[in-house]
């Protein structure tokens, strides 16, 4: 009776022993917490502050374009470490890209320009930031050209 108990004990203990060795799998798809990840799904790192429409002139005072400026705040506090970045926008209507000047890690306000706008029309841009040539997740902002 006592001896026949040993195999039963083994049957009971071994699965527990092996179960204790089990390790959770880490799926790459579950990683979405880094603000620089294109798949990031946390708190927005870009918050629109406002938009303004204005004309651009050359040195001779001639109008060369009418643009909408999207001004936004960058949540640098969410960055894993201080990082320089470039504001980056893509016009939804034609895919034209705009890359702003490099911002230092302490600069938390930036803007992008939507070019060639017409008074009264609505325009959208997908805004993100670029680091070393690659961009983060983008946020779409829209505005009506209003001079």
């Amino acid at each position: 009776m006592r001896r026949s108990f040993i195999p039963l004990l083994l049957v009971g203990v071994l699965p527990l022993l092996f179960a204790s060795c089990y390790k959770d799998e880490v799926a790459e798809a579950d990683l979405t917490t880094n603000p620089f990840d294109p798949d990031y799904d946390g708190a927005p790192i870009i918050e629109l502050l406002g938009d303004s429409t204005y004309k651009q002139f050359n040195n001779l005072g001639v109008i060369i374009d009418t643009v909408i400026e999207f001004k936004f705040r960058v949540r640098t506090d969410l960055f894993p470490s201080p990082t320089a970045y470039e504001p980056f926008g893509v016009q939804v209507n034609n895919g034209t890209e705009y890359t702003g000047p490099v911002q230092t890690p302490t600069d938390n306000e930036a803007f992008v320009l939507h070019r060639h706008v017409l008074e009264g029309s609505n325009y959208c841009m997908d805004v993100s930031i670029k680091v070393q040539g690659s961009s983060t997740r983008s946020y779409r902002f829209c505005a009506t050209a209003d001079l």
């Binding site: 001896r3 026949s4 040993i6 195999p7 083994l10 049957v11 071994l14 699965p15 092996f18 060795c21 390790k23 799998e25 880490v26 799926a27 790459e28 990683l31 917490t33 880094n34 620089f36 990840d37 294109p38 798949d39 960055f79 894993p80 470490s81 990082t83 670029k130 680091v131 070393q132 040539g133 690659s134 961009s135 983060t136």
Partner: protein
């Protein structure tokens, strides 16, 4: 008539001579294998355990025996005033040979039912341990990838990490996990089998050696005990004819 008288005289002389020779002691030195624990019965009366005997000259009956050995029944001549060496290797008894055969079979049975499964389980456990280390290493690599992910500040590097490096590392992890699971299963199965065979083999009785030659030998001579002793009976097989 004269011839008859001569014969009678000769016989008388021979008898006197033999009697005289028989009364002069001689020594026998016994070199018996096994030398440490053999016994013998001298002239069907005296049970002794010594390596040298001094006896009156003439023939004497010796019945040698040692544990696990056959009784050897023989007559040795003792020569007066001389020391003679006698060498004998006591053969193993049939019961002991049968016992040895049974013990060998028993040990082989134990090997098959215990040692072999135990070694197989041990080897499998070693393999499982090695595979578990690889499994742990693969998991550790993924944890390092997660730590790297949290620290990276370049979208491009994150994309490479997630779409190339981690895909390969997850694949390695899954393979290591599968291998370890199979190995652990085999080890577990072998452990259960080993336990079962241990229990099963424990039920096999250990062969017991019944030294029948000892019973025969004990019956050859009177053994005085604390209450005066008893007489025992027995018979001896003539080894010379076997």
């Amino acid at each position: 008539m004269a011839s008859a008288h001569f014969h009678i005289f000769t016989w008388v002389l021979l008898l006197i001579s033999t009697t005289a020779d028989s009364q002069s002691p001689g020594t026998l030195r016994l070199f018996i294998d096994p030398g440490n624990n053999f016994s013998f019965v001298l002239d069907g009366k005296h049970r002794m355990q010594q390596r040298e005997v001094t006896l009156p000259g003439g023939p004497h009956r010796f019945q040698f025996w040692a544990p696990t050995r056959r009784i050897v029944d023989t007559t040795l001549a003792v020569f007066p005033d001389r020391t003679v060496d006698f060498t004998l290797r006591l053969p193993f008894s049939d019961e002991y040979k049968a016992y040895q055969f049974q013990m060998k079979a028993f040990r082989n049975n134990r090997k098959v039912n215990r040692l072999v499964p135990l070694l197989a389980t041990g080897a499998s456990a070693v393999v499982s341990t090695v595979l578990f280390i690889k499994y742990s290493d693969a998991h550790k690599q993924l944890e390092e990838d997660v730590a790297l992910y949290d620290a990276l500040t370049t979208p491009g590097a994150i994309r490479v990490l997630k779409e190339q490096d981690m895909v390969a590392h997850v694949d390695d992890f899954k393979k290591a996990e599968t291998r370890f699971a199979i190995s652990a299963g085999v080890t577990g199965g072998l452990a259960i089998l080993t336990g079962y065979l241990f229990v099963k083999s424990a039920r096999v009785k250990v062969p017991v050696f019944d030294d029948k030659e000892r019973v025969k030998f004990d019956g050859l001579a009177w053994m005085p005990g604390s209450k005066g002793g008893t007489w025992g009976g027995g018979f001896t097989i003539n080894m010379a004819k076997r």
